[in-house]
Symmetry: C2
């Protein structure tokens, strides 16, 4: 998905927010905003929002020498999500359609997103909302069909804490899973450390994609990840940034997300708040 | 109130929104966003948000040669508000404290604000919310006391449509009112045409301030308005932009507004959604 003019205010907001998470004083916040304004003047057509986001968050990291401004937020998010793990397992035990239930729980976890908001949402209230919301788009049956024949799943993670919700889905899948996190900190995206803290190493093979960028920008990823990605029979991709980078990556890719921004909503044909299982084009 | 870094995303959003209201094609939208990014690079410390907003909306008007992008929105807002006039008069007829009721109704109208949102809010739902909300800050009794001795009131208008709600308050005041609108279009702020469409000329002396800027930036206003302003015994100033420009204009100035943005909320010490009657410092 290309970057729209509507995204510009959001990049500025993210730059300021990340600068503050990294403890920048007001002069440094000004410098970071100035550098972000410069960046927005030089965008080339066709760049996706995660490519711009990558550049924005690199500005913040480079100016502040702080490798991971969202570290504390990520730790908190994982802890809050782990506290809900037993309740989610109880829901799974009672479910008559465990795949559908687990897919919804994984999507519920996508509410944890510090690209969109500086607040950690009420996670259980989100679970209750997502469990009863209609899927729109709803490609769940296509996902179910492909799962029946795939020998394994490549699962592209999104944010720390959301990882715990993904674990519920992975534990419900009938095949092995390779769980892919970011190669370095960007926003509140999960890294290896975050995946292990959420217990993903106990239910999946965890690897990183070699990139410190939101979403999956293949040109920034390691050669190893690109090989694994090319070979995967079925890909589950979580969150808005993966949708922005993989929405046209072919029919073996399924994007699971909540729509949290009107630009993505317009691209998807679904309003903000939508609960989405969408097979890529 | 000075401009904070948090305001930058909002200026970009306003520029894009105004460009679209004015019917700009995508290339022109890009140019307007570029010019706005340039503008944000050159801000000088201490400028208030309405001063920046003035420059942003001038960019849009100059690029597009469209003198009033919000004209249709303003006409619609006035029509919707006029439809509620009889219901508001009925509330006034039943009220045991007409001044308090009329102040709240005038503040309810401040929900009409296309600087904050591209949608016209549900006006009657807003009335019902504002009628029962606590005032915070609450300087209503100080306003009441000054009204008892003032020979007339200078009333600084905000947005088209909100004018109808102001009419309710003006009709409840025991003294004559000079109602001041903008000297030219800026955002959805009321001009002479909008004030007349809302019937303000029947209950007040309507004049304009000579400026096509949000709020009241005295250096941009006409000499005539500045004289009237300097002489006024009591000033009622509506909306966020007037708060941003007059919050320290002295104890004869009362700002009536709803808090619609967290930056103003922080400045006021009141959360978003607050219903405010505040005597200036």
């Amino acid at each position: 998905m290309r970057t729209y003019l509507d995204c510009y205010p959001c990049f500025l907001r993210q730059a300021l927010s990340a600068a503050r998470y990294a403890g920048a004083d007001e002069i440094t916040q000004h410098e970071i905003m100035g550098a972000t304004l410069d960046l927005l003047q030089t965008l080339t057509p066709g760049q996706s929002p995660p490519e711009i986001g990558h550049a924005v968050h690199r500005i913040v990291r480079e100016r502040l020498g702080h490798s991971d401004p969202y570290h504390a937020i990520k730790t908190l998010s994982t802890r809050e999500a782990l506290a809900l793990y037993p309740r989610m397992k109880a829901l799974m035990a009672e479910s008559t359609d465990p795949l559908a239930m687990a897919v919804r729980l994984s999507i519920a976890g996508n509410i944890i997103d510090f690209a969109q908001s500086d607040e950690l949402a009420d996670l259980w209230a989100t679970v209750e909302r997502v469990l009863v919301a209609p899927l729109a788009p709803d490609d769940l049956e296509a996902l179910r069909a492909q799962l029946a024949s795939a020998s394994y799943v490549l699962f592209l993670a999104d944010n720390a804490g959301e990882t715990v919700f993904d674990r519920i889905l992975i534990e419900a899948l009938p095949v092995p899973v390779i769980y892919v996190v970011k190669g370095g900190p960007t926003l509140n995206d999960a890294t290896l450390e975050d995946a292990v803290a959420a217990g993903l190493d106990a239910c999946a093979t965890v690897m990183d994609n070699g990139a410190d960028a939101p979403g999956t920008i293949l040109s920034l990823c390691s050669e190893e990840f690109r090989r694994v990605y090319a070979a995967a029979p079925l890909v589950i991709a979580k969150g808005q940034a993966n949708y922005e980078t993989l929405s046209e990556a072919g029919a073996r890719v399924f994007c699971l997300l909540q729509v949290k921004c009107p630009v993505i909503g317009r691209d998807l044909g679904a309003p903000v708040g939508s609960v989405v299982v969408r097979q890529s084009l």
